[in-house]
């Protein structure tokens, strides 16, 4: 069965960024027709399903948006866009006020001022941030929500985006969404590399295992320019549960300590990638395990920590309690994760201008899928949602409603006709192992060389060819096939980016063993455009001076 819809704005992805955009657009133009499509349910979809424990991007008293730009540029070792950062930073505080108005509880002092953690973080109760956003969106009658619909591909005419199409994750229904303007907000990509755990705990990972890089893959296939995929993100996490560490490091000021009892982090610097590198280097030097020193915190601090983790990563609280190794008495072991591609933390993603317009006509990108603007976190994603919304409203009247463009359902149907073959799990495993071994995964301590990347590229191509033959018995199987193929597309482009940056810029995130040092020649963006399956690298100047 086929369902056809026509709308002014199509928002793909009902996570924090997508929903905030729907709200802003509706406020500015209440009669604007908006469709939000999500492959799950917007109340708990995306990377904030479990909640979030702090708003990590905020301009505290005595600081300016320019300070935030300087901080983010330094943290990215220079590879970020100053103008993207500044336009985001200028909105951080107003979007914070707005999410509070929508119902998010923010910690305040007796004078009703936010209590900040450092100068950039606001403490909240963010367990229900997604239900709050979903409820706010449902108040706007102009917004139509499609839950459990997976968007697979853009509808386009050359480089002009005319909407998108996809399928229900439950019933054999295909969807065609024609739109004047399309906003992609599908998040980043996890699951490309072998994760910390195998088997039953394979999805006990930091970033949502359901964020497959769908938006990147759709953009790559449509010829959009992408940036900085080689700046992978490795998160520093609590061992086993892969729960966040920022709450310990910033909340109770827990410092990194090795098994020799040495506070080693000062030897490595304090950017995000340097903090990860510190743990890798200490482990390799034989001083593992590494911990965050929580021993000695007060009983009251411990109680607050237990609650804080319940609001974002309940497994950690459960672990503390059931193992009876509470943080007051036992330090918390830490580790790095497998690499992710995620524009909310690093500069990886769509190449966008200050209005968050991509290189494809009538396509905007925001949040984790948008590049060039690291350290955006939740409030930065909100800021980008507002920036894009304002530009969309400014030009929507000039855009004609596109005529319906049909797509070929054979693209989907063929997977139902395929014979029994390898499973999605088989190929996913092969992809993750290849990326881990040859493209700088966790077991390789994030190291690789060019010869290994060549092997990785060959293997990923082979797997992509094999994936054509996968068999789907139902719509959920079809979803899994598309998710795997999205990851393979992202992996292919990622390998080309890793190959192109012939230096080591962020040692904690990736070490190119052929080029182990930073090289000032690479004070530039590594961008790419893919056409007919071939990825062409484009070096673009940084405009930060």
């Amino acid at each position: 069965m086929m369902e056809n819809y026509s709308t002014d704005v199509l928002i793909i992805g009902g996570g924090a960024a997508g929903l905030f955009a729907a709200i802003r657009l509706s406020e500015m133009k209440p009669d604007l027709k908006i469709i939000v499509v999500d492959k799950a349910d917007i109340r708990r979809s995306g990377c904030l399903a479990a909640g979030v424990n702090a708003l990590n991007a905020y301009i505290g008293a005595g600081h300016t948006p320019e300070d935030y730009v300087a901080y983010a540029l330094k943290d990215a070792h220079g590879i970020a866009d100053k103008n993207l950062l500044l336009t985001m930073a200028k909105k951080l505080n107003s979007v914070t006020a707005k999410i509070e108005q929508l119902g998010l509880v923010i910690f305040k002092d007796e004078n009703n001022n936010y209590v900040t953690r450092g100068w950039r973080n606001v403490k909240i109760n963010g367990e229900n941030i997604k239900p709050i956003l979903a409820a706010a969106v449902k108040n706007f009658p102009n917004v139509k929500i499609f839950n459990h619909v997976n968007v697979a591909e853009f509808l386009r005419d050359g480089d002009k985006i005319l909407g998108a199409y996809g399928f229900s994750t439950r019933k054999k229904i295909f969807y065609n969404f024609a739109a004047k303007t399309t906003l992609i907000a599908t998040g980043g990509a996890s699951g490309i590399y072998l994760p910390n755990h195998a088997g039953g705990s394979r999805h006990q990972i930091w970033y949502s295992p359901f964020n497959t890089g769908a938006g990147y893959a759709m953009g790559i296939r449509a010829g959009a320019e992408m940036t900085t995929f080689e700046m992978r993100f490795i998160a520093l996490r609590c061992k086993d549960t892969i729960a966040p560490t920022g709450t310990l490091a910033q909340g109770v000021k827990a410092e990194q300590i090795n098994s020799f009892g040495e506070f080693y982090q000062k030897n490595y610097g304090n950017t995000t990638s340097e903090r990860v590198y510190a743990v890798t280097a200490e482990n390799l030097a034989g001083r593992a395990p590494c911990y965050l020193k929580t021993v000695g915190i007060t009983f009251a601090q411990e109680k607050d920590l237990l609650n804080a983790y319940l609001n974002m990563a309940p497994a950690q609280t459960l672990r503390w309690i059931e193992t009876e190794q509470l943080p007051k008495n036992f330090n918390v072991e830490i580790c790095g994760t497998e690499p992710y591609i995620i524009g909310g933390h690093t500069a990886a993603g769509y190449w966008v201008n200050v209005n968050r317009q991509t290189t494809l006509k009538n396509l905007f990108a925001i949040g984790d899928v948008a590049g060039g603007c690291p350290q955006k976190y939740v409030t930065g994603a909100f800021a980008e949602a507002e920036i894009a919304a304002e530009k969309i409203i400014a030009q929507i009247d000039e855009i004609e409603t596109p005529a319906r463009k049909d797509f070929d359902v054979a693209e989907f149907e063929k997977f139902f006709a395929n014979e029994e073959f390898f499973s999605v799990d088989d190929l996913e495993n092969a992809m993750q192992s290849t990326m881990d071994e040859y493209a700088g995964g966790l077991t390789q301590n994030y190291r690789f060389n060019e010869q290994q990347l060549n092997l990785a590229a060959k293997n990923i191509q082979r797997l992509e060819n094999l994936s054509e033959k996968l068999r789907a018995a139902d719509m959920y199987d079809l979803l899994k096939i598309f998710e795997l193929r999205e990851r393979l597309t992202v992996a292919k482009v990622l390998i080309e980016h890793l190959r192109a940056r012939r230096e080591t810029r962020w040692a904690g995130f990736a070490q190119n063993l052929d080029y182990p040092n930073r090289d000032e020649k690479f004070n530039c963006f590594v961008n790419s455009v893919t056409s007919d399956g071939a990825t062409k690298i484009i070096f673009r100047e940084l405009e930060n001076d």
């Binding site: 492959k39 799950a40 349910d41 708990r44 979809s45 995306g46 399903a49 479990a50 424990n53 702090a54 509880v105 923010i106 910690f107 305040k108 953690r117 403490k123 909240i124 109760n125 367990e127 229900n128 839950n147 459990h148 994750t169 439950r170 755990h197 088997g199 039953g200 705990s201 394979r202 999805h203 006990q204 990972i205 949502s208 295992p209 359901f210 086993d240 549960t241 709450t247 910033q250 909340g251 109770v252 601090q301 607050d304 920590l305 237990l306 609650n307 804080a308 319940l310 609001n311 990563a313 309940p314 497994a315 609280t317 459960l318 672990r319 309690i321 059931e322 193992t323 959920y476 979803l479």
Partner: protein, 102 residues
């Protein structure tokens, strides 16, 4: 990982709708998980289940000892309950009007 108590499941389908991974399905008025290895551990299903038929357990490779984590959601507070294997029950209440201190 998620454990479903089929005797308690009322077949309401709320978990089927809420799971960000589309991992649940209904079979004969009882919910099932497609592949428990695919669960992220976000606990959206644990919070929304009206019958406490779903709990989260730490897998053995994560340090788990068999304790069960349940939740009861209300507009004012989220009440978490940890049931240890020795029968000990620990209640943790999170007041929704109160922010984290960290």
């Amino acid at each position: 990982m998620i454990k479903i108590d089929e005797n308690k499941c009322v077949g309401c389908g709320r978990c089927v709708d809420i799971c960000p991974g589309n991992l649940f399905f209904l079979e004969k008025s009882c919910v099932k998980m497609r592949d428990v290895r695919d669960c992220w551990g976000c606990c959206a299903c644990v919070k929304i289940c009206p019958a406490k038929a779903i709990c989260y357990q730490l897998a053995a490779d994560l340090g788990g000892t068999g304790a069960k984590l349940f939740a009861e959601d209300s507009p004012q507070k989220l009440t978490w309950q940890i049931l240890k294997t020795n029968g000990e029950k620990i209640i943790l209440e999170v007041d929704k009007a109160r922010a984290n201190k960290f």
